[in-house]
Amino acid sequence: MSYIELKNVSYRYPLAEADALKNINYAFEEGKLYGIIGENGGGKTTFCDLIKGLIPSFYGGDLTGEVFIKGKEIREWESSALASTIGYIFQNPFTQISGIKETVFEEIALGLENLGVEREEIIDRVINVVKQLKIEHLVKNNPNKLSGGQRQRVAFASIIAMETDILVIDEPTSQLDPKGTSDIFEIIHLLKEQGKTILLVEHKIDLIAEYADEVLVIKQGELITNGKTSDVFSDVNLLNEGVNIPQIALLSNDMKEQGKPFDTFAITRSQAREQILKKGSEKICH
């Protein structure tokens, strides 16, 4: 049984002229990190909202086909059960802070309070995520007075504290500086190590190349390509679909066209470095 499965899913927003998702079939496996990419307006956020159970219950519109989360059709899930199964983090750090709590510690606890978790367990879980995300220094602060980057970390912490098996993360770093971005990816990496299943929408393609196990490319509501990250990026035709390709993948491709391909197609810097070092040493040996 697949972890998350979409069968012939099409969706049209209310009042819309065209489908935002078109006949999508896909099965996600447990424990993998999936990168979701594609041009603006392609339907990535819609896809996330669908898996989060917000479609159609929040957005309305016409959903056809079926979405199974852990074997159960999405429309049959209780919203609180879903909230403790799938976590959702998105772009805007400001709207993800509740605005009703006086300290970051309480803010992170909010989701657990709503789930009815006992106090001692709340405290333990909050302390744990706070340590994981290295935000010990923020716990006493007022969450409504944090910077954007700090808020995004608190938003992450608040969702991670709920210990969901699945995380849907939609452009978490678009408002962050390079340092903030790499911090967030460190966290994402950590979550993957813990065995979470992660769906990640991200425009920074090098990061997808580095962290994703599989990549899905969505264009105009259709799932146009999917597969192992290195396979997807080894096809430069993707550029014509409005998708960026990592510079390193382009380099690997150039080498191939020059008749001097790497032994394995590199898509990240470290892979390329390895290949180049290998080639270099081969040369010396010759």
Binding site: L15, L54, F58, Y59, G60, S79, L82
Partner: protein, 195 residues
């Protein structure tokens, strides 16, 4: 799964309250001769229905009382405005400029009457702000107490509520359709805009 748009209403109501505050504050900063401190109630009531409007009014009244204790006695008025905005909007009143002016006038009239009654029975006919002075001047000139209460309260309310309704109209026109579809009165606006 149960419909989650209830959630959206819960998040819109505090916005209505806060907008009432800042609307009034901006009017003061710009030294306008109007209150404009019920735009949130009008707008949220109009798009999210009478019940949401009543809650915006109630919460506004409670939070305003902290700096303006007299308001507490007019809590019925605050709620009435939300109720009327929701009801009139459902009847299509906030969809065009002329109808909006009509809605503002009706609301000014009704709220004016209930305000006068409150002033008359609780405060000897004196309003609790500038209207009190106006009422007083009328009394001083020999107008009977009840008439002074009505004239002073009603004139102020009608002068204030028509522009308030117009601002609410402008705001609603700019709310994206995708938001309107999720709201109780949204279809009224969407159907009207289609024509």
């Amino acid at each position: 799964m149960k419909n989650r748009n209830m959630g959206l209403l819960i998040f819109l109501i505090p916005i209505g309250v806060a907008v009432n505050f800042v609307g009034g504050q901006i009017a003061v900063l710009l030294k306008l001769p109007l209150f404009l401190d019920t735009i949130g109630t009008f707008t949220i009531g109009a798009i999210a229905g009478p019940f949401a409007g009543i809650l915006v009014g109630l919460l506004t009244c409670l939070s305003i009382s902290i700096t303006n204790p007299q308001s507490l006695f007019y809590v019925i008025n605050f709620m009435l405005m939300g109720l009327l905005a929701g009801y009139l909007a459902k009847k299509g009143f906030f969809t065009t400029v002329p109808k909006t002016i009509g809605a503002g006038a009706i609301m000014g009239l009704i709220v004016g009457i209930s305000g006068s009654l409150i002033s008359y029975f609780l405060f000897n006919g004196f309003g609790v702000s500038g209207t009190g002075v106006l009422g007083g001047i009328l009394m001083g000139s020999g107008v009977p107490v009840w008439a002074s209460a009505f004239i002073s309260n009603m004139s102020v309310d009608i002068i204030d509520k028509v522009p308030t309704a117009l601002v609410a109209y402008l705001i609603i026109r700019n709310i994206p359709q995708k938001t309107l579809v999720k709201l109780p009165n949204g279809n009224v606006f969407l159907n009207a805009y289609k024509k």
